[in-house]
């Protein structure tokens, strides 16, 4: 049950951050949701085989396919996070005259 619980706590924390005011929390919540999905993918491959999938790894080798998915997913999450940061900063610049309101919720 460890895999499902890890997914659960990450989702709960991510959702809570998304629903709070403030743009930085939004971005961080998004990152946590990304983690949750990655763990879900890994769990889908099965957590009972835990040897690295290299050639000749034997009967305990993990399924390599979810790992390949997660690997690209991580990098794409990074890309989206960066883009989100950029968009939010742009929005905050448009919405406000004072730079110090950057972390206020968008109006």
């Amino acid at each position: 049950m460890s895999g499902p619980l890890i997914v659960g706590v990450l989702v709960a924390a991510g959702v809570f951050l998304l629903l709070r005011p403030g743009q930085l929390r939004l971005v961080l919540g998004f990152v946590l949701l990304g983690h949750a999905v990655n763990v879900l993918l890994l769990a889908a491959g099965g957590l009972h085989r835990r040897e690295p999938p290299v050639d000749g790894g034997g009967a305990e080798s993990a399924d390599p396919l979810p790992q390949a998915f997660i690997l690209t997913a991580i990098v794409i999450t990074f890309g989206i996070t960066v883009y989100l940061l950029r968009l939010l900063r742009r929005a905050s610049r448009r919405g406000s005259r004072r730079p110090e309101t950057w972390d206020r919720g968008p109006r």
């Binding site: 895999g3 659960g8 930085l24 835990r50 050639d55 996070t81 730079p99």
Partner: protein, 916 residues
Amino acid sequence: MILAVVLGGQFLLAAAAPVLTWWLGRNAGYVLAVGYLTGAGLLLSQRPALLADQAVLISWPWLPSLGVYAELRMDALSLIFALLVLGVGAFVMAYCPRYLSPDSRHTRVYVTMTLFAGAMLGLVLADDLLLLFVFWELSSILSFVLIGQDGRLPARGPAIQALVVTTTGGVALLVAVVVLAASLGTSDLHLILADPGRLATGPAWAAGALVIFAAITKSAQVPFHFWLPGAMVALTPVSAYLHAATLVKAGIYLLMRFSALFGGQWPWDLTLIGLGLLTAIVGALLALRQHDLKALLAYSTVSQLGLLVSVIGVGTPASDAAAILYTIAHALFKATLFMLVGIIDRQAGSRDIRALTGLWRAMPITVTLTVLAAMSLAGLPPTIGFVGKEAIFEALVTVDEVPLLGWVAAGLAVLAATLTFAYAARLVHGVLSGPTRQRELHEPAWSFLAPAAVAAVLATALGPTVALLSPMVERAASDARPQGQAPYLAFWHGFTPALGLSVLTVLLGTLLFWYRRRTDPVLAAIPTTSPFTGHLERWRRALVRFGAVVARPAQVTAPAPYLARPLLAVVALAAVAVLLLGPLPSRHPDATRPGDWLVLGLLLVTLAGLVTTRSALAAVALTGAVGLILAVWFLTTGAPDVALTLMLVEVLTTVVVMLALRGRPGRLVAPGRRVGIIAGVGLAVLAGVVATAATAALTGRRDLSPVGDWYLREASSATGGQNLVNTILVDFRALDTLGEAVVLAVVAVGLIGLARPAEAVRHRPGAVRHAVDPVLALAYRVLAPVMLAASAVLFLRGHQELGGGFIAALLAGTAVGLGHLAHPAGAPLLGRLRGAPLLTVGLFLALVAGMAPLAVGRAFLTPVKLSLPGVGSVSSALLFDLGVYLMVLALVVAAVRRLDSAPAGPAPGPVRERVR
């Protein structure tokens, strides 16, 4: 084949129109006219086959699974309508260049009109109900565009009104199509029409009523007649083409086509006769009270279309022939009249009949042509209008559904024709009588007049020579309804009852015109607007308001209320799943290891800190910690590549967020009201529970997947790589990887494109620059070479051991980030990297690696071994991985460079301007 050529050619012409207008300006119309005529000529070349009752066909599969074929079929009826579309189109296209102002290219007018001609052509040639419907809707939409052409405010209302009315009819047609296709099992129009007896009574009534509804909205019959005069805000060539000659004839075509199916049944026949005659009289009455020539012609069109509809309802061979002949006649003389009114409007600056007295002295040719066309409208010999009206009278007299109905119908038609004669007389009287008010008027250039002149002469000359049209019209009448030979069309029929009615019409019309001073007050009392006009507008406004109400919850600016709804939907979905989920296989017992609980505990503590902290720095650091904890866990689950990638991404994310935070307040926004917090906690817990339950239910309940098993056994020998995750990325699922790399590229491009203002801030003269941080600079100087070397090693060995393009690029990116932190103004060496070139080269390399196998006959992205002297054999997958490496690096470089905040301090005015 010829049908596809002509129809395709029409759309090609539309595509070529922008080039033509760019080259020739408004004179592009002449070239387009030649194009239209060529199409008409090609279609006309099929005449012998059509007269021998051989339809021209072309068909290709469209939705084969539904048995829908895109089928074009041309019989004589289709040919006549197609020739009207292309022929009148050619006149109007040749008229446009002199009508349109010289100061603009009018690309939009030409493109839309040509597209519209294509849609009409498709409509009359379509032999599949769905195809017919598609072209029907297309013509409605293009009509909307043409009415509202330049987006002027006064044109918007009528354009929307026309669209609402005609598309309502379109919906009816769609339902009719569905009813017919569902009850007959085919959407092939020809098959459906060939055997009317197959249709059961119920569907027949429904489909018949819907078809009538569609036709009367399009052809502006009472009570939907109001949209057509409204549409007169369009340019005059548009009015001439769409709202006199073609678009409104689509309804007529539809009724004629479906006559084979529904004709001869009394509800169909009597509805058409009744509605048609009512419209003919109402339209003519309204036309009689107009002073604006264009409005007069619009109501006249409504009236004439009514006459056509009523004749279609009669349903004898003679009546079908009469309807077809009068369709031709009306298209010719009404388009002519519109063109002439446009000329008068341009020359005299007015369309008001009262301001145009004595025009004939200044513009004798224009006025002569107007008189000729008006004679056709009034049904006077020797014009085609006369022959057509005679044929209509003759057909109406034969109506025999109810005793004496024929004479009632003919009497009503005479009434409509009398009114028509009277308003035609007013038109002629207006331009002939009285003093010439504008003495400096003169004839327009012959090139302006020529299209209208040719059309006017044609409309007149076709009267005595109507026998030329006879074979085709007879053929078309029996195509519409195969029920025997239509009578031969002739100019002179002898002394028939119809001639008597014609004479009566002229006498009564003259009287009506003579006593116009007495009739005018009566006419002025008739309301112009249909009761529907107001209702329609009110419904439309109500609909728009309703839309605003529906959209309001989605238009909040804060994310929380917006995101709450999809989250609630997920929870609801899970509740449904719980109810529907059947028994599950048992969970794998060995899936949880003792270390996992430690990881879970660490995560809980870290997350608890993250959700409660008010410090931005702490929040970012704790998020990074979550990533690192997960990376460690990934390591224990046998995913070292993932763990390494995640670790590097966490470092980079932290760097990027810190860069973005630089110079910003360190405190997060206050958590807000207590209610909001409680709701947030509730929703978060629900979401967490759902996620846990779903993961538990749907994962960990089976052994290794077959595809995973295959990779474990075969991947290494198939690719020569030992690191199976990497072989999946670059060998087996390279297309996925390419797609993902392109996503990154798009993000990088977005960053580069969005971030101009930040650049502007950075290079603002006098901006405070961050000083070089000596500690970080030292670290950069020492660590960067090591990181780059490690990156190279990770990259090169990626196929065999831990590593690969993604990981290696992230490590190099970390060095870039470190460099930027140490030297904000640009680190030595790595600070010179730019996102765009890296991106370009990376994408290029990946594509080359993908394309190279094509040269040796292998599929896209198939890895091929290349033997290099001195190095040994190298897989082309390495080149692909290098492309991925460069694209990921490009993203990091773009992120680091573009996300760095401007130095602290108030942003001055000019920069803010640019941001906007």
